[in-house]
């Protein structure tokens, strides 16, 4: 992986997560009606972090679920390799909840479209709000995030990677150059 630049370091990462948690609580006036739903696989870890942070602030557990949007993808009919199913794990009723949908990077928003369709098939949430760590632009659908950790303008030849301790051993946001040879 050819890292072009490191835009958020560990300290910045944690501050950003803390700020997102505060913003979510401020907008929703507490945690009574909210439920945090992470999009597998990268949004899953971020959702867990946010849930923990919210708990630290409010001293109460918040509902937490995971969404696997594979069955709702719009490119399945293109016969790519079967994407592996990790499974959706939402044990609460979404009806009436203010759902905080969490993903690491907002890019084309096709994933978010799939997530919205899947959530609405599960019930009728009071609202769905989108929280992302990074918004990198280049939207292909008319969707925007409610809570953004960091706006990072990019070119399409680049990729934004959110690294997290749980899987990568460190918390950081890096920009990877896809046009460079030898890139994973």
């Amino acid at each position: 992986m050819k890292i072009k630049s490191r835009v958020v370091d560990e300290q910045g990462f944690q501050r950003t997560v803390t700020r997102l948690a505060h913003e979510i609580l401020e907008r929703n006036k507490g945690i009574e009606t909210i439920a945090i739903v992470g999009i597998r696989t990268r949004g899953e870890h971020l959702a867990k972090r946010l849930a923990q942070k919210v708990k630290d602030i409010e001293h109460k557990d918040v509902e937490l679920g995971m969404l696997d949007i594979t069955l709702y993808r719009d490119d399945l009919r293109m016969r790519l390799d079967n994407p592996e199913l990790k499974g959706t794990d939402i044990t609460f009723d979404v009806t009436g909840k203010n759902i905080i949908l969490v993903d690491d990077v907002l890019y084309t928003a096709r994933t978010i479209r799939a997530a919205l369709d899947e959530l609405i098939d599960m019930g009728r949430p009071a609202s769905i709000q989108l929280a992302v760590l990074v918004d990198r632009g280049h939207r292909e659908l008319p969707i925007k995030a409610d809570f953004v950790g960091k706006n990072i303008p990019t070119s399409q030849g680049e990729e934004v990677r959110v690294l997290m301790k749980e899987v990568d051993g460190e918390d950081a946001v890096v920009i990877v150059d896809l046009s460079e040879p030898g890139v994973v």
């Binding site: 069955l71 399945l76 390799d81 079967n82 199913l85 990790k86 499974g87 599960m122």
Partner: protein, 306 residues
């Protein structure tokens, strides 16, 4: 990751990785079946034909539900109301259906090899829903899913298949699949209903049910086909029940807990007594639920793979 093949014709020769992938994928579909809307848009725009040349209620409904819950378009075809009555060959029937741009075919046929034959002549993905006494892979996969759900693994589990082994495609597919997954497989039944030369498959044969129960973690009890009554393979149903019927008393006598599977439909008080079929050790209803999830997994993997 995609399956290593584009049809599911049987479990003979299917690698462990493929079976594992199907079972793992089915877990995700079990969750979908618990949702208020039990439907996902995954196979939107795909057309699936259910070609049933032999009567079937459970398997056909299970496939149809699985297909509809994946949002596929479904066409049902049964031999008794079709062009087959007018003398059309299997190949012509399917060629004609294929001209109407279908994507997948599910076939049930009384002739062994019908699904294999279809797999060679059509572009669509073919799924075998039972061909003669040859194979019934989706039944075996749902049995394996149910066993794995109960025991957490298939490796080292002792499964005994009880009943008419000779005429059973369920037995055959179970033996292939379970052996691949590392289970210990045995069969038990009257000599007239156990095929000769079954030991080379790595299967232990019991002629005494009590002995078989003593060694087994789980019994997969096959349906005695009442049509075979009078074919001199066993004297009477009553005698079959006394010698090879699974009863509460027999299970109590074994002094251990044995799990019961049955592919259905059950002949109560022939191969299985009613109280055992309804007991807490019976996973028969669970099998039916798992059947839809396993078939959804197979349709998903074949229908969206390369």
């Amino acid at each position: 990751m995609a399956l290593s093949r584009r049809h599911l014709l049987g479990l003979d020769g299917v690698p462990k990785e493929d079976i594992e992938q199907i079972l793992d994928t089915a877990t995700s579909f079990r969750e979908v079946l618990e949702r208020p809307i039990k439907k996902v848009p995954t196979l939107q725009g795909k057309t699936i034909v259910n070609l049933f040349f032999e009567s079937s209620t459970r398997t056909r409904i299970s496939f149809e539900l699985a297909e509809r819950r994946l949002s596929a378009d479904v066409v049902n075809f049964s031999a008794d109301v079709s062009s087959v009555l007018k003398g059309e060959t299997l190949k012509d029937t399917v060629r004609n259906l294929e001209a109407m741009k279908i994507d997948m075919v599910v076939i049930r046929h009384a002739a062994a090899g019908a699904a294999d034959f279809l797999g060679k002549v059509v572009q669509a993905n073919v799924i075998n829903a039972g061909d003669g006494a040859h194979e019934h892979p989706t039944q075996a996969l749902l049995d394996m899913y149910t066993i794995r759900e109960k025991f957490g693994t298939l490796e080292g589990i002792h499964v005994c298949i009880v009943g008419d082994i000779s005429h059973s495609r369920v037995a055959r597919s179970n033996i292939y699949g379970l052996k691949t997954m590392g289970a210990n497989v045995s069969v038990c039944g009257p000599r007239t209903l156990i095929p000769r030369f079954i030991e080379p498959l790595g299967v232990k044969v019991y002629y005494d049910l009590d002995e078989a129960i003593r060694d087994a973690d789980l019994l997969n009890v096959l349906r005695i086909q009442l049509e075979r009554q009078g074919s001199a393979l066993f004297p009477t149903l009553r005698e079959y029940h006394q010698t090879f019927g699974i009863t509460r008393e027999r299970l109590d006598r074994s002094g251990k807990t044995v799990t019961i599977l049955h592919p259905g439909p059950i002949n109560r008080d022939v191969e299985l007594s009613g109280d055992v079929a309804d007991s807490e050790h019976s996973l028969i209803i669970q099998q039916v639920l798992n059947g839809v999830a396993v078939r959804m997994a197979i349709l998903y993997l074949l229908g969206t793979g390369r």
